[in-house]
């Protein structure tokens, strides 16, 4: 079965070895893109839209896990979900999570027999997807949500980090103290986070990834990899014909886009 693939791996020898091993295990597979770091993997994946993505977990910039999340969110609706295979030398906790959520992974150094099994599985999945002639997003997303919720990838940190009550945002020579309960939503902006209340906007020097464990997950919902919204500030969620969900807020005029990874939150009771 012919198919296309992307390999994201920061260590050049290992990238070459995986490509070589894939040539043997799956001769019809064409590697159409190679990325040396996470951000490049996202950019190349969205541009070339391969059938299979091999993502190293530890990469400079975005980790393979973060890259996969970004790809899953921004991947166009008309194309079927890509198959994602994680590559790692040794990440005990991540491996447990992958086993649990039935996500494919490859261990480094690549073992030919193990890779052959993975390839067989990928071919089956690709065949089903092409036969059904429709995107298999739901199954892929269900696996993703399970992975996102698993303790091994962030859940433990969330439990161990103390909650934030007041946000201290600098502006000029002043420090503004913003109670967390007044925040309508947080939005990631490069290495900063924008903090939006009903009547003001602040910037804090913290990444969303660092902020997230300090927020109460019951009160603050992540609706996109770059957006976290206070749940009782949401007035309503609207779904358009294409299935895209947007939120209308109390206290802010903006409409927020909900990514497909998080859209399942908004269902009637």
């Amino acid at each position: 079965m012919d198919a296309t693939a992307l390999i994201a791996e920061d260590e050049p020898l290992l990238a070459a070895e995986l490509e070589q091993a894939l040539k043997v295990a799956w001769p019809e597979l064409r590697v159409v893109a190679r990325a040396e770091h996470g951000a490049a993997a996202v950019e190349l994946a969205l541009r070339t839209r391969p059938d299979v993505l091999f993502l190293d977990i530890r990469m400079p910039g975005l980790s393979g896990f973060e890259a996969a999340q970004a790809i899953a969110e921004d991947w166009p609706d008309d194309a079927g979900a890509p198959l994602i295979v994680f590559v790692t030398a040794y990440d005990q906790h991540a491996l447990q999570a992958f086993e649990h959520a039935a996500v494919d992974y490859v261990l480094k150094p690549v073992d030919a027999a193990r890779l052959a099994r993975t390839v067989a599985r990928l071919k089956t999945l690709l065949g089903e997807r092409r036969g059904a002639n429709g995107p298999s997003w739901e199954a892929a997303l269900a696996r993703w949500r399970e992975l996102l919720a698993s303790d091994a990838l962030g859940g433990v940190q969330r439990a161990a980090t103390p909650r934030l009550d007041v946000i201290q945002a600098a502006s000029g020579n002043a420090i503004h103290l913003v109670p967390v309960r007044e925040v309508v939503y947080f939005e990631a902006a490069d290495k900063y986070v924008r903090v939006l209340t009903a009547d003001a906007e602040h910037l804090i020097r913290l990444s969303l990834r660092e902020l997230l464990p300090q927020l109460d997950p019951q009160r603050f919902w992540q609706i996109h990899r770059g957006t976290v919204v206070r749940s009782d500030a949401i007035a309503r969620a609207e779904r358009d014909e294409a299935g895209k969900v947007t939120l209308v807020l109390r206290g802010r005029p903006e409409r927020l886009v909900v990514s497909r990874l998080h859209a399942h939150r908004f269902k009637p009771m």
Binding site: D10, L13, A16, Q20, R58, P60, Y90, P109, V110, S207
Partner: protein, 354 residues
């Protein structure tokens, strides 16, 4: 305070031991006075058990030091004296009840004989107390030794784990395997470096000092391994002036800093980077510098929750600080700070007396 099952066992064991002591006292007295065995046994056991119970109960009235099982300071003495007196009176009364006589009448016709019983009773109590006290001290000392041994073993294991981090090891082996296929000569060189690195890591913590040259050689092996892995992304520079080559330094004074710079500075950094390891004399001191052009100190704040290896990084730095303090006291220091120039990254500086 509820005694745990372990504590209950201990109390019962004490009771049995005291019953044994009392029996021996009774047999001694019976021998000396020729007969009245049963009577002696009843008195001795009644007094022994009464004193023991008074002490055990008394211990629960006071706050007990969990280490020794006794109240602290004068309370311990007061408890023992009052328990002996109370137990003696109580035990004698029980004995009297058994024989139908009154030992306290002895006050009238033979106070000496009663006094001799009391002295005997105090002597036996003191020796039993001493027996238990030295036994518990002994056990405590053994516990302390066991704990110290466990701590030392744990520290060694942690050091070894931080040096031979599985992720690094498996990635290196994966690279080696890949290299065998494409360039067997380079693969052999890499294997030699890995062997040297492992040999040094596993053996070095056993010597108190080695030459700075040896520390640099180990760093060079580690960096060579990393260079195979990171390829063109990693540029390295090592500078060791010949006059400092034989300076004795504690092992692992530089390597954890270099590993830190790679793991938290250059590996997560997108694009190319450089690491410089330098030794320089500065008056009567020697300065060892590890500088990288990577992600920078802020990004690798060990307290940041996003840092997956924060614990191992903190451990590496703490290990270097501990070693320096143990060997040089306040005369040596380690500072980690942003490099503070256009290239960014961070700089770790170890200052040693020359």
């Amino acid at each position: 305070m509820n005694p745990a099952p372990g504590a209950l066992w201990r109390v019962l064991r004490h009771g049995v031991i005291i019953a044994g002591f009392s029996l021996m006292v009774a047999l001694g007295l019976g021998l000396a006075r020729g007969g009245e065995w049963l009577l002696q046994i009843v008195y001795a056991e009644a007094i022994g058990m009464s004193i023991w119970l008074s002490m055990e109960l008394g211990r629960y009235l006071f706050r007990v030091d969990p280490e020794t099982g006794w109240p602290s300071g004068w309370r311990s003495g007061a408890l023992q004296v009052s328990a002996v007196v109370l137990g003696y009176v109580l035990g004698t009364a029980i004995g009297d009840l058994y024989c139908g006589c009154s030992s306290f009448d002895l006050w009238r016709h033979s106070p000496r004989s009663l006094a001799s019983y009391l002295v005997l009773c105090i002597a036996v109590s003191l020796s039993i107390s001493y027996f238990f006290l030295s036994r518990s001290k002994d056990q405590r000392r053994q516990r302390e030794i066991a704990t110290a041994q466990r701590d030392a073993a744990e520290a060694r294991l942690k050091l070894l784990e931080s040096q031979l981090e599985p992720h690094m090891l498996f990635n290196t082996l994966a690279n080696l395997r890949a290299l065998i296929g494409v360039d067997s000569v380079r693969a052999q060189a890499m294997l030699d470096q890995l062997i040297a690195f492992l040999r040094a890591t596993l053996g070095a913590s056993r010597v108190p000092f080695h030459a700075l040259e040896a520390e640099f050689a180990r760093v060079a092996d580690y960096l060579a391994l990393m260079q195979v892995r990171m390829g063109a992304r990693l540029e390295t520079r090592l500078e060791l002036p010949p006059e400092l080559a034989s300076l004795p330094v504690p092992p692992f004074v530089l390597q954890p800093l270099v590993e830190n710079a790679i793991k938290h500075g250059l590996e997560p950094h997108v694009g190319r980077g450089r690491i410089e390891v330098r030794a320089a004399r500065d008056g009567d001191r020697v300065r060892l510098t590890v500088r990288d052009t990577g992600a920078g100190v802020v990004a690798r704040d060990p307290n940041a929750p996003s840092e997956p290896d924060a614990a191992s990084s903190r451990f590496g730095l703490a290990q270097v600080r501990t070693r320096l303090a143990a060997v040089y006291g306040a005369a040596a220091s380690l500072e980690l700070a942003p490099a503070g120039d256009a290239e960014g990254g961070s700089r770790a500086v170890v200052t040693l007396p020359a």
